[in-house]
């Protein structure tokens, strides 16, 4: 695959386009720019440095798909900020891994085991930064980037998303916790919750704005609550053992390498923070936030307002990387997203995990039976035991508070997942399924959202919530495999399709390669050495 940098000093190659050359023939699944977009080309807004003639349109050619017109990069907001697309990753990422899986490992192996969590979350923060590189530079999703490199890659993710994420089993933890509080059967809560999510997203004028607001409040409550709880329960020595545990690199007790625990540990590392395809969906939230060149792409609207949807361009845009002013703005955007990755995402994920670990330790201190139940690995029984220990310590109100925490986490994950899945599938369908552009992106989004809800309700009422038992291992395999696959995709997309000045440096490339090796290596090692998929 050869991409070319129109801004470099070298002579133009065969893929290089100038305004005087028409774009090459496109692949069948792609149509040309809409008339409104591709009419008489104007100059290069944003000060393309070498503007030869006002009518000349300049393009960036990436892969074999439609070239990206050069447009101005918007000015970046201040790097220190509060609200942004990270809220989706936090909502999706802070789930059972942080509230149950890691506290469980700490109880069994001690706080030193947390160095693996540090590695897992830090790798995810780096992946997040690299995901944002392509999305902010082009306004395209990483799925589109994958298609530019090798279209079957994109279809792999399309199919994987359907196989892994249509099963409503993820609703069970939060809804079950709610059942403990109210007595309402969890299936009824889950069905009502899904219908509510569908109606609310349908009525929303701009889905992103609504969801960012709701998730911000939920995450805010979670962060404030867990901070206070940790402050009350813990001590500096608790914090210091947790912190030193995070740096106990290489600590791996013999039992951790046993067939019973190795797959669990690998799974816990893989699912530290956002797992599966959640990082890929982050690129779509960045676009709707208007980050970088995403500002040139219209936002997705609720189905009720779908007619107000502006025309979606048939591809993204690129900025003039030879213009120092544009590069200065690009650096501003990189600072902005770095703050997102390392302060908001990394910091909040760490904080919530520490708090839940402290909670688990406290409940185990109060009732040693909790440690036994947690060790046995029955999630619902373990959550019951933790809540029961709080209840026994004070009043039933406190068991309720614990379950409400779990319900809140479940609600966040469900809201984020429904939106993200629909967003990702709509994006791939709109750009790559022939004939799909008869519908607007917002309508496709609504179609996938309601399809997911309808299927989820049917399965909850009549089928296995986690998916058919015969394919559970396959789904777990696919979920982890997708993480290794998106690291490889990232390396290819960022190093092949982006102009040289904004490609990743050696350090991010090495880290992403390490992540790919880690996810895929551990997955296959677990499979071949122990005969089990990560869990």
């Amino acid at each position: 695959m050869d991409s070319s940098d129109i801004n470099s000093d070298r002579p133009l190659g065969r893929d290089d386009l100038t305004g005087t050359e028409p774009p090459p023939a496109r692949v069948p699944a792609q149509r040309g720019p809409a008339p409104a977009e591709s009419g008489a080309a104007a100059g290069t807004p944003g000060g393309a440095a070498e503007t030869p003639a006002p009518e000349q349109e300049r393009f960036w050619k990436a892969g074999r798909l439609e070239p990206m017109p050069i447009r101005s990069l918007p000015k970046a907001p201040p790097s220190i900020h509060l609200l942004g697309p990270t809220v989706f990753l936090v909502a999706l990422g802070v789930g059972m891994g942080e509230s149950y899986m890691w506290p469980r490992l700490v109880l069994i192996f001690g706080p030193e085991i947390r160095w693996l969590f540090l590695i897992g979350v830090t790798l995810q923060a780096v992946v997040m930064l690299e995901m944002s590189r392509y999305a902010m530079a082009t306004g395209e999703s990483i799925f589109f980037g994958a298609a530019r490199v090798f279209k079957p890659l994109m279809w792999f993710f399309f199919v994987t998303a359907i196989l892994v994420y249509i099963w409503p089993g993820h609703l069970s933890a939060g809804a079950s916790a709610f059942e403990r509080v109210t007595g309402i059967p969890w299936q009824a809560t889950a069905v009502a919750g899904m219908l509510l999510v569908g109606v609310v997203f349908t009525l929303a004028k701009v889905v992103y704005n609504l969801l960012e607001n709701v998730l911000s409040i939920c995450i805010g409550l979670l962060v404030v609550g867990t901070s206070v709880v940790a402050a009350m329960v813990g001590s500096l020595s608790d914090l210091s053992t947790t912190l030193t545990g995070m740096f106990a690199f290489g600590y791996l007790p013999e039992e951790a390498l046993s067939p019973a625990w190795f797959p669990v540990i690998v799974g816990s590392i893989a699912f530290a923070g956002p797992s599966g395809m959640q990082q890929m969906w982050y690129t779509l939230h960045l676009r709707d936030k208007g980050a970088g060149m995403g500002a040139h792409i219209p936002r997705i609207r609720g189905l009720r307002h779908a007619e107000e949807q502006e025309t979606m361009p048939t591809r993204g845009f690129m900025f003039d990387t030879s213009d120092p002013a544009e590069m200065s703005k690009w650096k501003g955007w990189r600072r902005w997203v770095t703050f997102d990755a390392f302060v908001l995402f990394w910091g909040i994920t760490m904080l919530v995990t520490v708090s839940f670990t402290v909670l688990a330790q406290a409940s185990a201190r109060f009732d040693p039976q909790v440690a036994t139940v947690i060790r046995d690995g029955e999630r619902d029984a373990a959550l019951d035991a933790m809540a029961a220990s709080f209840t026994a310590a004070g009043s039933p109100v406190f068991g309720t508070i614990f379950f409400l925490f779990i319900s809140l986490i479940g609600l966040n994950a469900t809201l984020g997942l429904f939106d993200s899945f629909s967003r990702g599938q709509a994006d791939m369908t709109y750009f790559f399924v022939p004939g799909a552009r008869r519908f607007s992106m917002s309508k496709l989004y609504g179609f996938f959202l309601w399809g997911l809800i309808a299927f989820g309700i049917c399965i909850l009422l009549f089928g296995p919530a986690d998916g058919p038992a015969a394919i559970l291992d396959t789904l777990a395999f696919l979920s982890t495999f997708a993480m290794g696959a998106y690291c490889v995709t990232l390396l290819l997309v960022n190093n092949i399709t982006l102009p040289k000045p904004i490609r990743p440096g050696i350090v991010p490339n090495v880290l992403i390669a390490v992540a790919a090796l880690f996810y895929l290596g551990m997955l296959f090692y677990s499979l071949f050495a122990y005969g089990v998929v990560v869990s």
């Binding site: 900020h81 409550l221 609550g225 901070s227 206070v228 009350m232 910091g347």
Partner: protein, 187 residues
Amino acid sequence: MSAHAPSAGHVPAPAQYAEIAVPGAAIGLVAGVFAAGVAALAGLPGMQIATIATGLGIPLALLGAGYCVLLATGRFGVGAVGPVALYWLVGFPLARLVDEVAVAGVLGHDDVLRDPLLSFLAFQALLSIGFAIGFLWLHERLAPLWYYRIQRHNAAAADLMRRYIDQAAEMEQRRASAGRGRRRGRS
């Protein structure tokens, strides 16, 4: 008083600021409710749990209210993370200290703190960063709705609302300028 301070209103200035302080105080109180869960971990009776909950909830509510007033008087920028983090870096450990002292007083404990004072304060200060982010996160989502409701009779709230709108307009302008670039490119 900064340039942002209101000059007139239908209600006296102290009452205006008291009204403005409602969102911050409410968030502080809600945070204090979580302290009840922690009290349960200690296996204490209801009365003592209530003491612990209010011991933290009230200081946090007062500090939350203080943040709103400082915001309204222009000492803090709208949505600025740094000043809030510094504010709670001092305020959160103090609130926790008040809580511990109150609890020790009610229970008649001789030892107020489990850890040395400096260790205690350092631990609380470290956790305050998370609390500050959560607080601001909630405040930025909830407070503008409240200020919008009261701005008709509260000049300080109206002034604060204007600052929120200015900030939103600035963000929108940034997006619109990119949009104009897109339209220019099409025509």
